[in-house]
Subunit: 441 residues, 2 copies
């Protein structure tokens, strides 16, 4: 239904302002206009798309939309709205416009992960003050419903761990390397040609994008504010085809994981750990079957056990689906009355340093191929309290051997000290790979 | 926190009545009592467990609970409650007690799939009349958040298809047969020994349990009331190890699926189809990796694309997690004020007969091994408008050959007529297996 058309139903109108008209915004506008009657029946009110704020009135759009909807005056558009949908991206002016909207009592739906990661608490407090709703399901894993299940469905449970493949482009690259034996360079070029990478690819491959999503997941799962700067982060640029091939032979696949978990530090402090890194996952683990650009979030909770949420983690239409879901939720609440459910950060666990994290490791070494070297390496591990679960030794070349050591769960700080000692040892030519191992098979 | 203890926080109290104390009820009671402080912080109110209505005060419980909580007077318990949790199961007295609770303005949380499947509309209308909340996430796939995502997260999208493994015990049986080559009898005995089967195993193996869940999924996905009697239903008792082995060799696995989809009938009628039957799934499909007693629901939506929700589909603790999630949601809304979101059955699509369903099939035949038989069989298919996608012929014994025909998508009614003609043909000794094929690889 188009703006301004005669309406034959008896519903009241809800005025919707859309900020931004990129690939997601254009699809959101299309869906609101095309499915007007059906949305009205679901909501009990008509959604009237008041306008779309853009930087340039003349830019090309993915979808043909009525020209009279476009405006460059975002502030004015926001002021008349019942519900504001923010899809501009970036911090400013998105933040100020959302605060303006909430200040006026409007509900806000956004897909802006950078903004929520950096200013989620501020925006959520502003919403709570006036009983407005702030919804951002689309900010993590696009179409996959994950924030609402974490926040509501698991609200009576204790979530212990959230482990997600939340960046589609790095998953695409690692999946190509794993399944087709492509080099990192070739896989990355393909991802780039297909438009899977952000304009600045370091946001993807260095794990910045995943880290933003990890803070959002952690804050909801653990009722705790987690600043982006507290996320330990390693990207995939150090991952080689050799590592992936070796992992494959050992029954593992390498995935870039965003992990958020409850953790008790060595001094007894209860806290959380939030980290992004490439890790080995057993092939039988549900996350190992997440191919191409798909996303999935694996959740462990005390009572619910293991859950997984799987689907498309990007795409204009897919992200628009999540935005529309939030829009309908916000609108239904608007119609029946009553404030939004306040945000919850009552726990406020400290974010523990990565050194406190307990994980298993796989360490690959080039050593001198002579008697006593294995015992010496084992001694170095033991000296740091790291215990080996498996050792594989292959003669490589010219008096050298390759050792692949799988450890039991060890504290990250102990492992780091172990690797340092190994590097300093004269029997060790090279520590060629250190990878964490996540997920029981 | 125990009932009656001194409370040091400033929250108001919400009175909770629990009906039933079986494996789920006992865990729900335990979690409410053990996690009182944390739940209070999440909700903004104390949950006071007012009492637990049971049939016998002396029955053994899974969890030790204060004796003074138990009562046999369910009606009286319900009348004083803000939130009623119904975990008795069965239709009566559960239905009357829930109506009594809603009539008094209390919110209701239930895990009772049989009741929701049979009387969901009546209960939902009763809730809407007073603005109370009726939540039943635990009624389908236990711990897996699926109803809330369908109802809220996908509220702005068009769901086209929901395909679920929603009965854990039949999945366990089929999985044992597939992965360990066990006979149907052995796998069923094992499932029974492990306590995976309902007291009346026909509820599981004949698909009644899955059919109830299918009606609930369909009603939420398509905003349409679907009576249980309208669900086409086949169980797994006809599935043989031979079929599973043949499927395995052809790259498929057999799963008992509950399918709900939007469908246009041959006369152009827009409707829905809801059905439960064993079907072939490609090994690469995410549902094929759902092993043992796990459940998963695969959802296809126009904008969101393909989503999957995976986890435990049964268990006292797991189901209690979903019940607690609903309890916290209901309590939060109770605290901030405003009515529940009304149920939505505005679409009211007709449920189309199974004859209108379009699926691909695999038909296995024993035929006379002589020239012209294949052409004859192909002619029978063509006469009914069924088109073959693949044919495999193996000589079996004594002048007989086995034909395995994979069809393109065909109307169920046409396929049924085809099978009838094949059975009547003198060149065909036996139609040994007819299986539907669901899910693209």
């Amino acid at each position: 239904m188009r703006n301004g058309e005669l309406r034959l139903n008896a519903y009241r109108d809800l005025r919707v302002a859309l900020l931004g008209c990129g690939s997601v915004g254009a699809q959101v506008a299309r869906l609101i206009l095309e499915n007007g009657d059906e949305l009205a029946a679901r909501i009990g009110a008509n959604l009237t798309l008041d306008g779309i704020a853009v930087r340039s009135l003349d830019a090309e759009r993915d979808v043909e939309l009525p020209r009279e909807l476009f405006t460059t005056d975002a502030e004015r558009l926001v002021q008349g709205a019942d519900i504001v949908i923010e899809l501009m991206g970036g911090i400013e002016p998105a933040r100020s416009l959302i605060l303006l909207a909430l200040g006026g009592g409007a509900d806000v739906v956004t897909a802006n992960k950078a903004l929520i990661a950096a200013h989620g608490r501020e925006l959520s407090d502003a919403a709570d003050q006036v009983g407005a709703q702030l919804l951002y399901e689309a900010s993590v894993a696009a179409a996959i419903p994950i924030l609402r299940p974490l926040r509501e469905s698991l609200a009576g449970d204790h979530i212990t761990r959230v482990m997600g493949i939340v960046n589609g482009s790095t998953n695409y690259i690692l999946d190509r390397m794993d399944r087709f034996g492509e080099s990192a360079e070739d896989a990355m070029k393909l991802a780039s040609d297909l438009g899977f990478l952000e304009a600045d690819p370091t946001l993807d491959v260095e794990g910045f994008d995943a880290a933003q999503k990890a803070t959002i997941l952690a804050s909801i799962a653990f009722h705790t504010e987690v600043p982006e700067s507290a996320v330990y982060r390693e990207g995939i640029t150090g991952v080689t085809l050799e590592q992936i091939t070796a992992a494959r032979h050992a029954g593992f696949v390498i995935k870039l994981l965003a992990v958020a978990e409850r953790l008790t530090a060595s001094d007894g402090t209860d806290g959380v750990s939030v980290r992004v890194y490439p890790a080995l996952i057993p092939r039988e683990h549900p996350l190992a079957a997440v191919h191409e650009g798909k996303n999935a979030v694996f959740v462990e909770a005390e009572a619910a056990g293991e859950l997984m949420f799987y689907g498309a983690g990007a795409g204009g239409n897919e992200t628009a689906s999540a935005v529309l879901g939030d829009l309908v939720s916000a609108a239904r609440r608007h119609v029946v009355g009553g404030p939004g459910i306040p945000g919850s950060t009552h726990a406020e666990f400290p974010v523990l340093p990565v050194g406190e994290v307990l994980t298993a490791y796989q360490v690959m070494l080039e050593v001198r191929d002579e008697p006593g070297v294995l015992a010496r390496v084992a001694g170095i591990l033991a000296a740091h309290g790291v215990s080996a679960a498996s050792v594989e030794q292959n003669t490589s070349s010219e008096g050298r051997a390759t050792l692949i050591i799988g450890t039991h769960s060890a504290r990250e700080a102990d492992l780091a000290a172990t690797v340092e000692s190994l590097r300093a040892d004269e029997a060790v030519a090279e520590v060629s790979s250190v990878l964490r191992r996540e997920g029981r098979a």
